[in-house]
Assembly symmetry: C2
Homo-oligomer: 150 residues x 2
DNA sequence: TTGATTGCAAAAGCTTTGCAGGGAA
DNA sequence: TTCCCTGCAAAGCTTTTGCAATCAA
């Protein structure tokens, strides 16, 4: 369980468990695969009457990233988003430029690329693959109703 | 030649060629593969006594992205960087977490992934693959002089 | 001439930081 | 009790925008 692991890791590094840290981590657990940004987290907590200041949300997120609970993502919006880092599940993101939905792509053809680079002496740490395009749903729609050119 | 192409495209869309637009595009041509940010461009021009305002640098970069001359990149620094978009040369980026150098990776194993997704109905537009790790140079160095743990 | 483009400064986001008070261990 | 953590407000950065003056076509 994430909360228990966090408690343990905090103790190991002489940090303290606080209600705020638990609340922030829980938000990510309850909104798994939603790619929340700091402001989203703040607003979710605020709407539940759990007031955690924005500064604390930012600081807690940084801590959770550092501890490996969260993975930081960017989708070209000018903000950072985060997702629970389940290390066993390597996946990538397909961003639909029409509906904005983000699909998680589980294919792992990248293993080949990884092997090739490792043969060249590179050491792998982390991938970040984003694919931009049109998702099947929107592609079907635009076949029926093609967008007009400006 | 990029400048001529830009002139032509601007004319087609009833935009105007200006010294500023030419200067900004030239900076990218002269600093190919350096992944400049807007501020870098501004400072390069400033140091050459070509004063182009920051606002214009930003606006011109946006225009060049829209026209397909530049590709926008993010490396988790909180700023956008750009590179000349040579459409024929699909490549990815390996960011060394030690020296910070960005290597361009030319492998195209991603073709497989692309084909697989296209079979599922996704329409491709653009890739953005970043790989974080340690480059061969730094990996060799740290073998000789391993970093101390904190 | 005409309206797109520039420069300046102000504004707008997102994120970080300083500091004093509060709270976990 | 100790000193880590929080909240608040201010500050920091990058990027965007409003507006009058300028300049390309």
């Amino acid at each position: 369980m994430y909360i228990e692991t966090l408690k343990k890791e905090l103790k190991e590094r002489k940090y303290r468990m606080t209600p705020q840290r638990e609340l922030v981590l829980k938000v990510f657990m309850e909104h798994d695969a939603e790619h929340l940004g700091a402001d989203d987290v703040y607003r979710i907590l605020f709407s539940k009457k759990h007031s955690v200041s924005k500064a604390t949300v930012y600081r807690t997120i940084d801590l959770l990233v550092e501890f490996g609970f969260l993975r930081r993502l960017e989708f070209g919006e000018g903000i950072y988003r985060y997702e629970l880092a389940k290390k066993d599940k390597l996946h990538h993101h397909f961003v639909c430029k029409i509906c904005g939905k983000i699909y998680e792509i589980k294919e792992s053809y990248l293993e080949n690329l990884k092997n090739s680079l490792e043969n060249q002496g590179f050491v792998f740490e982390n991938f970040d693959l984003k694919i931009y395009g049109i998702c099947p749903k929107c592609a079907r729609k635009s076949k029926k109703n093609p967008l007009r050119r400006k």
